[in-house]
Symmetry: C2
Subunit: 195 residues, 2 copies
Amino acid sequence: MARKTGSHSQITGPLVRQAALRLFAQGGYAAVSMRQIASEVGLQAGALYLYTPDKQTLLFTLMHEHLEELLTAWEAVEKPVAPIEQLQAFTRFHIRFHLERLDAVFIANMELRNLSDENFAVIEKLRKAYEDGLQSILEAGHATGAFRVPDLKLATLAIIAMLTGVNTWYREGGRLSRDRVERIYWNMVRRSVGA
Amino acid sequence: MARKTGSHSQITGPLVRQAALRLFAQGGYAAVSMRQIASEVGLQAGALYLYTPDKQTLLFTLMHEHLEELLTAWEAVEKPVAPIEQLQAFTRFHIRFHLERLDAVFIANMELRNLSDENFAVIEKLRKAYEDGLQSILEAGHATGAFRVPDLKLATLAIIAMLTGVNTWYREGGRLSRDRVERIYWNMVRRSVGA
DNA sequence: GTCTATATGCTGATAGAC
DNA sequence: GTCTATCAGCATATAGAC
């Protein structure tokens, strides 16, 4: 028989982060206690400190992992040559990726003010890197004359805000399928850049 | 000489709400204590309960006042006849109104989960009423053939998300004036509905 | 690796003096 | 209308037993 206690670090650590993700998204970072997180995993509060030095680092880790995953996933997407097809790929990727991670996206957008200054700077840099991915597509389309965009930076921010907005209302099993939503939004994005 | 203590209810009440608005926006509802709010106004914690029955009602009141003001202000806007001009009026109104109330907008979007069920229902109804204002413009434009919108509901939500997104990055004294931002966004909104 | 016990401090809200 | 004092409870984080 295996012993009841032992090297569970590789199992318990992810479980702790998973529980924290769900609880932070549900109640907000400040409103969730370490005891609640521990209870969710089946631990006592003290044991959590084997997996995170403190509550703040736990929050930071969740956001950091989320953004690293976002950048990696976007890099892995095969990029078409034509800017308009790149923009379509981005639109569909963004909606799909974000809809699959409601909790993480919610936290990444809402809990920025609860990060320490250093942690905030790291997260902002990653978020900016993602925005640059879209902006370079818009620049390419602007250069070839495929898009008519009044301001590249604002168009980038506007499109991302519009697409991420899907997370606030979309629910599985609703009126529209994911694929249908992606098509409708692509239609609006395409028009918005004059393509 | 007027007495030092006395009927300050009409002054102190608004000051309490103003302080709560700023502090909730800055640190989040759950992270702000009644003592902090009191201290900001120059009161002791106990005195706050003359102006609100509890912390939850204070939050609800802030959101409720904000949304009532939003609906009243939009009703007061003179409406052109042509749908495209109505949509332009909405776009400019929305950006302007929201940019002037960064704290209230932030709270109204982020603290919904901290409302009791009854309070949440009230706030949701008001938010829905505002959305309906935009949706009826899109419907009118769809009927006249002025707009080409793949889905009225989604277009409504997409446009509002895009416009409210301005609040996350716009800062007074930046690269662009408010008026310039309004024009650029109007350009994108107009195109997005195929007008 | 997890538990129990504990230190220290802050929380929302109320009672009653002035 | 405001203050002081207070209640009962929960917070994060640590120490040390097992």
